[in-house]
Symmetry: C2
Subunit: 146 residues, 2 copies
DNA sequence: GGCGATCAGATCGCGGGCGAGCTAAACGTG
DNA sequence: CACGTTTAGCTCGCCCGCGATCTGATCGCC
């Protein structure tokens, strides 16, 4: 019965934290040219994919709450990339729509995934493996958080 | 030649971002009981392991800059877990030392890795695989950021 | 010894994340 | 219809992360 390790480099949680920040750090200079931050980019990914969608659904897709999304969306709106309007049929809900300008950004964003893919230095198999392990981890941890 | 995917769920970067936040979210209630935030916990991990160490080395171990570490260490000091003192032999450098109280926290922290390990729901092999993929990813991305 | 370069660290500003507390709209049940 | 409950969203405060800028201390080199 050995004592559990508290070595920093043994912790998957630290590896995760470091990797996540390294990747967003890699995106930063590229996204700067598009005038976006990393979370803003993720929001646009969700919107490009789904067309318009209410704030609630964005939160579900990105696992972010209103405290994060509300100010972020306001900044995207101020930048002219997004519109926010109350639904007529349910005044509680706010529908977020991509503007022309926001849609145009999508073309320039297409170069991002290949660039990051190359920088990651993983084989295709490792890439898929990593993604599926991360998904499994996320859902499992979420279940244990209830 | 297909267009690169911009689907949110295809992006490893998003899987990473979501997993990292899910894990720190899982730690939060447990660390709350110790009066710690997640980055503070990581700093203590590094200090428990190395004994005292200058701010610069902490930054290297955690990949964090002074803008993050300086205020964080001040908060840890105010909480009585850590001491900060200028070195006599090099007045530029600040040595960070764990106090008795900080050292005592280590015992209570020993229960964390098993708990998170269980919540992750990964086999031992997957666990090691994930960690090594994350490390590989981190170093590779860091190299491509120069 | 003097002086520019480098280095350790602090500070500030901004944009996340997130919990807590708030408003207003819609719903549900009598 | 009235009234409590749920729901969507906002705001605020605190703590990261990080770029930029500042201060002092040390080093290198003449």
């Amino acid at each position: 019965m050995t004592e559990p390790s508290l070595r920093l480099d043994d912790q998957v949680c630290f590896a995760l934290y470091a990797a996540s920040r390294a990747v967003t750090g890699f995106y930063r200079p590229v996204l700067d040219k598009l005038g976006l931050t990393y979370p803003q980019y993720l929001v646009l990914l969700a919107l490009w994919e789904n067309g318009a969608c209410p704030v609630k659904d964005l939160g579900a897709a990105l696992q972010l709450d209103y405290g994060t999304l509300s100010p972020l969306l306001k900044r995207l709106e101020k930048a002219g990339l997004v519109r926010r309007e109350r639904r007529r049929d349910d005044e509680r809900s706010v529908l977020v729509t991509v503007t022309e300008e926001g849609a145009a950004l999508r073309e320039r964003a297409l170069e991002l995934p290949p660039a990051i893919g190359a920088a990651m230095g993983l084989e295709d198999a490792e890439f898929d493996q990593l993604r599926s392990l991360l998904r499994k981890l996320t859902t499992s941890v979420a279940e244990h958080s209830g």
